[in-house]
Amino acid sequence: MEVRVQNVRKEFDRFPALHDVSLDIVSGELIALLGPSGSGKTTLLRLIAGLERPTAGRIFFGDEDASEKSVQERNIGFVFQHYALFRHMTILENVSFGLKVRPRSTRPPAGEIRRRALELLDLVQLSGLEKRYPNQLSGGQRQRVALARALAIEPRVLLLDEPFGALDAQVRRELRKWLREIHERTGHTTIFVTHDQEEALELADRLCVMSQGRIEQVGTPDSVYDSPTSPFVFGFIGESSELAVNVERGDIWLGDRPIGIAAGDNQGPARLFFRPHDIELVEGDAALAGVVASSRRVGGTRRVELELGGAGHRVEIDLPFDHPAGERSRIAFRPKRWQLFPA
């Protein structure tokens, strides 16, 4: 099911949470709404679900205008960060809930409900636990029950609100892989909210990066990572180093020195962004050179913090942990790839 969000605005007590957001979600894709807290990503998800009403704008499911429809009518599957399992029901009762509450005319017979619930528990690899209660399961298991429960109603769209947010790192990684597999097997249009860029980069077909109630950039993980369109996205997705520079006569200047990389036509103060690992060490003057302020090894790389010039600019670069330059007190380098944004 294709979902279109059209010029949606949402205010809470006149405080805007979303400003005029539009987003087209392709049928069958797995898209991540990514942003820091307060960026409006959860609000957008809840608006699509129908748990909130937009102040202005429309939401379409396919060609059908869903804006005025209630949550129940939208037929969505929603997975909550804190599972929201019904604590007084067994796992099986939790999963069959959505089918049991249907009106008699559309409700499958009891045997069929049970069969489908067991099938879904099998899909989420929890066969045999159907008689347990939610508080007898681990966090990861609970979230899988929550997903099975959401899938039971055959939703048109699957919505997940920070589904792995309450789990520890190892379980998160496993569930991530597993969610990807489920997505490929069931083919549901899936929208999930996360503030974890690694999760989004690894899991999603497309990212929708949000900040302060606006969409900053939408694209595949590679395109967003490789060509961020705003300083925010560059800073938020992946590691980044930032320098305040000046563009003059086609060159980039840091203070009174050119740094050896050519700029386009823009003139004046600018912000230079590059990835700490996307650099090359060079000899000579026309480079970014600095004194090592700190150097620590992080797994397979060495992160070096350099102080450039006298103005107190500090940037971080990554070197292989056994690189001889890691021992030096002064390092000169040049970003291999970079991006300039007007200051």
Binding site: A49, L51, S70, V71, Q72, N75, I76, G77, F78, F80, H82, A84, L85, F86, R87, H88, F97, G98, V101, R102, A146, R149, A150, A152, I153
Partner: protein
């Protein structure tokens, strides 16, 4: 190596000497015996002074039976109404955001802070002969004051906060996640309430009902003002106890009082059992009235 000269002493914050501890415990026990156990014992011993036969007989007098019946009737009306009100109010307060919420919570607490006699007088002013409402209702043959409806109204007013006070913190603590999940799965509002919300609050609700019922049966002040104390018609158990006592019918008074005391004891036991068994599911705050 010599013994460590500065071995860290685990200083308990409550390390008073033994005699202080026992003195404090004793003081507590004596106080409890004097003010709680002794009166309770007195009630039962007075009731049974003339033997079990007289005790049973005095409970079977028409006045006593009518008082018991009226008390049960009033509780049977007031408690369910306050359950419905309490659930509705705490549902609104815990699950929705609206203006004037803090004011509503204060309003719910009002009966706790108003003297029961005032609560009764409010109804006398509202429905008395000098009011607008009273004579108007009377012209349709509806008696409020000095009749069962007045007693029910006064009881509802006095026991108003019990259920709501117990449920509001519990429901606020549980949040709206479960309800949203149920709605997203296609459940209607009613289905969500019956299948998700109510099971989540059932123990807290039972606890509130218990307290509400104990107070509804035991209320004296407010009921005394509105009842008119018509023998055999508008006297509840607490009122009848007083009447018996004033008429020097000691056994009858204390026999009826012992029933009320028993009710209190049963409530206390059930309350403790609930707290012990479902303590984590009961709200941590708003308890202990």
């Amino acid at each position: 190596m010599a013994a460590r000269p500065h071995a860290p002493r685990r200083a308990s914050p409550t390390n008073e000497p033994l005699w202080v501890r026992w003195a404090l415990i004793l003081a507590g026990l004596v106080f409890m015996a004097l003010f709680l156990v002794l009166p309770l014992l007195a009630v039962f011993s007075e009731a049974l002074r003339q033997g079990i036969g007289a005790y049973v007989q005095s409970l079977q007098s028409p006045d006593a039976l009518s008082a018991i019946r009226l008390t049960l009737l009033v509780a049977a009306i007031a408690v369910p109404l306050n359950v419905v009100f309490g659930i509705a109010a705490s549902w609104a307060i815990a699950k929705f955001e609206f203006k004037g919420k803090a004011f509503l919570i204060t309003l719910i607490d009002l009966p706790f802070s108003v003297s029961p006699v005032i609560s009764g007088l409010v109804y006398v002013l509202l429905f008395g002969t000098g009011s607008v409402l009273g004579p108007w209702l009377k012209s349709y043959g509806i008696e409020i004051l000095f009749a069962v409806p007045g007693i029910v109204l006064a009881t509802i007013f006095v026991t108003f906060p019990f259920v709501a006070r117990e449920l509001i913190p519990l429901m606020q603590d549980q949040g709206t996640g479960d309800e949203e999940a149920a709605l997203s799965l296609g459940a209607s509002g009613w289905q969500t309430f019956w299948r998700v919300t109510l099971p989540n609050i059932k123990w807290g609700l039972l606890y509130g009902v218990l307290l509400c019922n104990a107070r509804a049966m035991g209320e004296f002040g407010a009921v005394a003002v509105v009842s008119g104390k018509i023998r055999g018609q508008t006297t509840t158990m607490p009122l009848q106890v007083e009447m018996f006592y004033n008429e020097y019918q000691g056994t009858a008074a204390f026999a009826l009082a012992s029933l009320l005391a028993l009710l209190a004891l049963v409530t206390l036991v059930l309350k403790s059992a609930l707290e012990w068994r479902f303590g984590d599911e009961l709200a941590a705050t708003g308890r202990g009235h």
